[in-house]
């Protein structure tokens, strides 16, 4: 647990440094809690892409707690804010549901968020857990997307079901599930082409893939993961909303958290749409896909240096 925490912490160091530094700048050297302090806290959240409205709400809750609990010392505000964020992010979430035989995982998202890389990491992880994995090259649109998945498949030692470029992804989905049943694999992970959520025809294509999976195997897909780039701003809310409306999203994967982007928009998504984050991508290595733990995520964002040992 401590090892996990340290890795998460490491990957979030930049996020944390920025935020913690800012929060600490705010609370040190102040003797009382005033509007200016609240405004500045709100700004820290906005800068982390939490979004103006959600930031406003969080700070409002903070105000109410301060009032209700008669808190006078500004130094306690950081912890309180952290608690409020963790509360929004929810209790510790279950990770992906892989109990079905085979479990079918559909991975979707807009262009360039890191779907294929995430799939490779997830497949690797399943392999490490001793599961037999089948990858499905459902991105038949982007040039060389199939090759990209195949390169990963070779590296991890996992078979990839593919059709020609330009083929109907629903047909690939169907074949893949037949193959999966025949081979008795444990997990089927399907890649899809990146698509902007406002492209109606592409979203229809995705719905078809979803329908075909379900027809070929009732209950499938068992997990539908929306991959979000942590660098994305408020548009991620639209992405989550529209993909969810189209095919039902069971969880988010937040990628590229190893940069300076903070991915705060997931707080807004969780608050608005109640979709949990299940994984975070924290680097380019195959091992860099981590479970998302709301409490620790919030703590890692706000914890001061001496505190993390408790976790």
């Amino acid at each position: 647990m401590a090892g996990f925490f340290n890795r998460l912490k490491e990957s979030l160091t930049r996020t944390r440094q920025n935020l913690v530094q800012k929060v600490e700048e705010l609370v040190t050297g102040r003797t009382r809690i005033d509007d200016e302090l609240y405004d500045e806290l709100e700004e820290v959240l906005i800068s982390a892409d939490v979004g103006a409205e959600t930031a406003l709400e969080l700070v409002e809750r903070l105000r109410q707690r301060v009032k209700a609990e008669k808190i006078g010392d500004p130094a306690g505000l950081k912890d309180l804010l952290q608690q409020e964020i963790a509360k929004v992010l929810g209790e510790r979430t279950a990770t992906v549901n892989l109990e079905h035989q085979p479990a079918v995982v559909l991975v979707v998202g807009v262009n360039g968020v890191g779907k294929t890389t995430t799939i490779a990491k997830l497949a690797h992880r399943c392999r490490e857990e001793g599961r037999q994995v089948l990858l499905v090259a459902g991105d038949t649109f982007r040039a060389a997307a199939i090759d990209q998945l195949e390169v990963w498949g070779r590296r991890i030692g996992v078979e990839v079901i593919r059709h020609q470029a330009g083929a109907d992804p629903a047909a690939v989905a169907f074949d893949a599930l037949q193959a999966a049943k025949g081979r008795g694999v444990d997990v089927v992970i399907m890649d899809t082409a990146g698509r902007l959520h406002n492209k109606t025809n592409l979203m229809e294509e995705l719905k078809k893939v979803n329908r075909v999976l379900n027809r070929a195997m009732p209950g499938a897909p068992h997990e539908t993961l929306l991959v979000l780039d942590a660098t994305t701003g408020q548009n991620a809310i639209n992405q989550a909303r529209i993909f969810d409306e189209a095919i039902g999203i069971t969880g988010l994967v937040l990628t590229k958290l190893d940069g300076t982007a903070k991915g705060g928009v997931v707080v807004a998504i969780r608050a608005e749409l109640a979709i949990p984050v299940k994984f975070v991508g924290v680097g380019e290595g195959l091992d860099d896909l981590r479970d998302f733990d709301p409490a620790e995520f919030a703590r890692a964002l706000f914890a001061g240096d001496g505190e993390e040992e408790e976790g």
């Binding site: 262009n111 060389a144 990209q148």
Partner: protein
């Protein structure tokens, strides 16, 4: 689009009560600036940039005379818009070409920004301008990145230079330029690997390429959906490489693209090109003024007007506009207009460009069905000129005749008439709502500046 209520609309609401006031005072502006701040933040403009911007607008707006034709709300929108255009840079920036070929253009950016796709699109873009581009695959890290560029090159019939994944990107770039020389290629487009701006090792590699091949253009490729972090990314790339410009990708999404403003403000570099679709030809010169409208949620009025101007003659529009304003608009005009609009392209595209669509509650869920349009046309064509000009004369027997003549039903005819009346009312409101105007009022403002004048009716039977 439907998610957002445009800033223009919000400001209208906030400042509605001020209608008729002669001057904007500080209290008005403070209320308005709250909305401006929220709108810009919702569009992902960086917080610091927003603060500076709001401060400047506030200064400018206080004490301004409200132009006779504008409400205070509109006046504030005008100030905001003007400032935003000024900040974005008014003119479309061009790609620098070397005096002595080959020109080297280097594309850099984070993972997933769209560099490889942009490289291919840029190749096509340049060829259309009579250049002979060579695409170069310098991304030796991402699996199948080279293959991706090769496939794209093949599709577009553009040559692609690569040395596999075992050669350093610096050497690939150097050899590519020698190759371009020998093949008579006059522009070299370097596709580099995506990297984090905080990855020193990979940033060093880009610096090394820069030192060796001295590109005329280093373009930072940025996803239009980028949030607050855009400033950090742009500032870091600019510090390390001194970028010349930006390519904004995925603008065909529904992100407001506030990152564009942040990047311009932080680096001072112009945004030169915009990726606007999946197809290879979907790369366009970037128009800062249009982006300002988009960030504000004002719709892409200029594009709409340009489309309209390309397809419809100006006199007809002017005549139509007068009629709309006077609410003296009948089915005959509607038919004429519908026929004009057919020339402009698919309806839903046109609709998306209109500002204030959210305000029109009745239009919010309008789905434009081309088949329905045909029915409408058939119904109107089955009317006598008298009936078209004056739908009030339509009694049951006439309606039955029209239904028969058009192959529809009396219900459809009734629906059309009812919707037409509603639309006429809506249009009157629409006509009353005049968007912000260009600097100065009245007079001929020339092509592309005639905002706020051209309105179209839409409805569904």
């Amino acid at each position: 689009m439907a998610m957002f209520e445009g800033l223009a609309d919000k400001l209208q609401d906030t400042l509605k009560k001020l209608r008729g006031k002669g001057k904007i005072d500080e209290a008005d502006v403070t209320a308005a600036m709250r909305e401006v701040r929220l709108a810009l933040l919702a569009a992902d403009v960086n917080l610091k940039v927003v603060k500076d911007f709001v401060g400047r607008v506030k200064e400018r707006a206080v004490g301004q005379e409200v132009l006779a034709s504008l409400t205070p709300g509109q006046q504030v929108v005008k100030v905001v818009y003007d400032e935003l255009v000024a900040l974005m840079g008014g003119d479309t920036a061009r790609i620098n070409l070397a005096s002595r070929p080959p020109t080297v253009i280097m594309l850099v950016g984070l993972q997933g920004a769209g560099k490889t796709t942009t490289a291919a699109k840029l190749g096509l873009f340049l060829r259309k301008q009579g250049r002979r581009p060579l695409l170069v695959a310098c991304d030796v890290y991402r699996p199948a990145a080279i293959k991706q560029l090769e496939v794209l090159g093949e599709q577009l019939d553009l040559p692609v230079f690569n040395l596999g994944t075992e050669v350093s990107p610096v050497d690939i770039a150097v050899k590519a330029i020698a190759e371009a020389d020998s093949q008579g290629r006059d522009v070299v487009v370097l596709d580099t690997a995506g990297r984090l701006h905080i990855n020193e090792e990979l940033m060093d590699e880009l610096r090394a390429i820069k030192v060796r091949v001295k590109p005329q253009e280093i373009l930072l490729v940025v996803d239009a959906m980028t949030g607050q972090d855009a400033v950090n990314v742009a500032a870091a790339f600019n510090r390390d490489l001194e970028i010349n410009g930006v390519v904004l990708t995925k603008l065909d999404g529904d992100a407001r693209g506030g990152a564009a403003l942040s990047i311009k403000a932080v680096t001072g570099c112009p945004i030169k090109l915009a990726g606007v679709g999946e197809k290879a030809d979907a790369l366009e010169p970037f128009h800062p003024d249009r982006m300002a409208s988009r960030i504000l949620g004002m719709g892409d009025v200029l594009t709409l007007i340009e489309k309209a101007q390309a397809a419809v003659d100006a006199d007809t529009i002017r005549e139509m506009e007068m009629k709309i304003r006077k609410a003296d608009f009948n089915l005959e005009d509607f038919l004429a207009q519908m026929q004009q609009m057919k020339k402009m392209g698919p309806m839903d595209q046109l609709l998306g460009m209109l500002p204030g669509m959210n305000k029109m509650k009745a239009l919010k869920d309008v789905e434009i069905d081309e088949k329905e349009m045909k029915h409408i046309e058939a119904i109107i064509l089955s009317m006598t000129p008298e009936e078209r000009r004056n739908p009030q004369v339509l009694k049951d027997s006439r309606k039955r005749r029209i239904a028969k003549g058009s192959g529809t039903s009396v219900q459809k005819v009734n629906q059309l008439i009812k919707n037409f009346e509603q639309t006429r009312k809506l249009m009157k409101q629409f006509a009353d709502f005049r968007g912000p105007k260009g600097p100065g009022k009245g007079g001929s403002k020339g092509k592309g500046k005639a905002k706020g004048g051209f309105r179209l009716p839409f409805f569904k039977v």
